[in-house]
Symmetry: C2
Subunit: 228 residues, 2 copies
């Protein structure tokens, strides 16, 4: 369902060229649960942004469901981001001065498939699933770091995406809350949803069935996880 | 050096009262290295904000170096924040559209002690110490999550504070980079600097000499760490 071929991403800063991705080949099949690990600055978020259609590669190809994304129009990119992919950002990206409930409900206003006849109920359920049933009317400045992280997760899941991309979703969570959140991802994966999870913790990566390790913009290891 | 007595912090939201801190007694002596752990929402950041003079308690007292902070003027609060305490925020709080170097140099402009005759050199050294020597001219949007976290750290350390308060400083860092960053804290602690570190990872907490655990706005355990 996800296939990158020799994807590179270069940033030009004056006469310096920062090579965030240097030729990444990654194939993920529908229903897989993949953890992506690697040092700070190794390119994990950049790769996730390309896969989530938030950024285009400098060179190389990215095929989503077998279709080359370089041909996409702005509308097609938006449709992928709003309906097919749920993205949990490393820096949450919540709307300030907007309650958790409204933040989570927002993607449903963009949904034109008509399958959400009660967006408010779907948002409430999504927040309850990550343990925030009693924090729905707080805005981000009235929430703890881990609570904001979970609002970002609830928002990513609310429109039942077929692919979930999560960038360090447990970075601000204690182990008990992390386990609760990861079991949500596991349940969704058992229902056939594809999950890509960036994490720097090996305990968290163990929840996945495959671990990909990056270093300096390249994939250096890619193996199945046994004995989960 | 730090002493809280029955500190509470309540947030009023309509007719609801959220009790983030419910009576916290914590005494930290000069030169200690304390880790604070606890579930998401248990009050760790709120406690750190009170200790860092970023927020006042609803009731109870907070004594810094034996002086009751409730008597402080605005200037005294600012002087504590700018000179005595280095704060690494859970959400970094960097200035956008401002390079890492300028972000780190900023606290030195507020310093009126005259001890920094070369603020730029001090900022460069602080960034190099956290491994960002080659990212100094990037602004936050051009940095990875873990790099932004380290800029926040470099900024907190640049004016040689006598107390460091770090809120999840390794939440976005891989284990190798975390070890590098924690050894910076350990070195500073060996020079006599008091360190309070909020973390949700037990591996990280092991670098401290004492671990305090919070739950629902209270301290539920407080013990020394042996066999480091
Ligand atoms: N301004 C506010 N108004 C209302 N409630 C608040 C406000 N700020 C924080 N809270 C609540 O106070 C509680 C403690 O928050 P705090 O940020 O201290 O938690 P924490 O232990 O740092 O959590 P985390 O590990 O998730 O960062 C949380 O339940 C949060 O929802
Ligand atoms: N807009 C940009 N301009 C220049 N360099 C950039 C830009 N965005 C990212 N970079 C650089 O690209 C590299 C990869 O960044 P990326 O965010 O993918 O890392 P990461 O693996 O997610 O790191 P972390 O674990 O710290 O979040 C970093 O060294 C970063 O400094
Ligand atoms: Mg990242
Ligand atoms: Mg916190």
């Amino acid at each position: 369902v996800i296939e990158t071929r020799k994807v590179t991403k270069h940033y030009l800063m004056g006469d310096l060229c920062v090579k965030a991705l240097r030729g990444v080949d990654l194939t993920v099949n529908r229903g897989e649960f993949v953890a992506i690990m690697g040092a700070s600055g190794s390119g994990k978020s950049t790769l996730l942004n390309v896969i989530g259609c938030l950024d285009r590669p400098t060179s190389g190809q990215y095929l989503l469901d077998g279709v080359d994304t370089s041909g996409f129009s702005r509308d097609q990119y938006a449709e992928v981001r709003n309906q097919r992919i749920g993205f949990v950002f490393q820096t949450f990206n919540l709307l300030p001065r907007t309650t958790a409930l409204d933040n989570v409900e927002l993607p449903l206003f963009y949904d034109r498939t008509g399958k959400f006849n009660d967006p408010r109920a779907a948002a409430v359920e999504s927040l309850e699933r990550v343990g925030l049933g009693d924090r729905m009317h707080h805005d981000p400045s009235e929430l703890s770091g881990g609570q904001r992280q979970r609002v970002a997760m609830a928002r990513a899941l609310v429109n039942n995406p077929s692919i979930i991309l999560a960038d360090e979703p447990t970075g601000n969570l204690d182990s008990r809350t992390s386990v609760d959140v990861l079991s949500v991802f596991q349940e969704l994966n058992e229902q056939g949803i594809t999950v890509l999870l960036v994490t720097h913790e090996t305990d968290i990566a163990q929840y996945a069935k495959r671990i990909v390790v990056m270093r300096d913009g390249l994939i250096v290891s890619d193996r199945q996880v046994w004995d989960r």
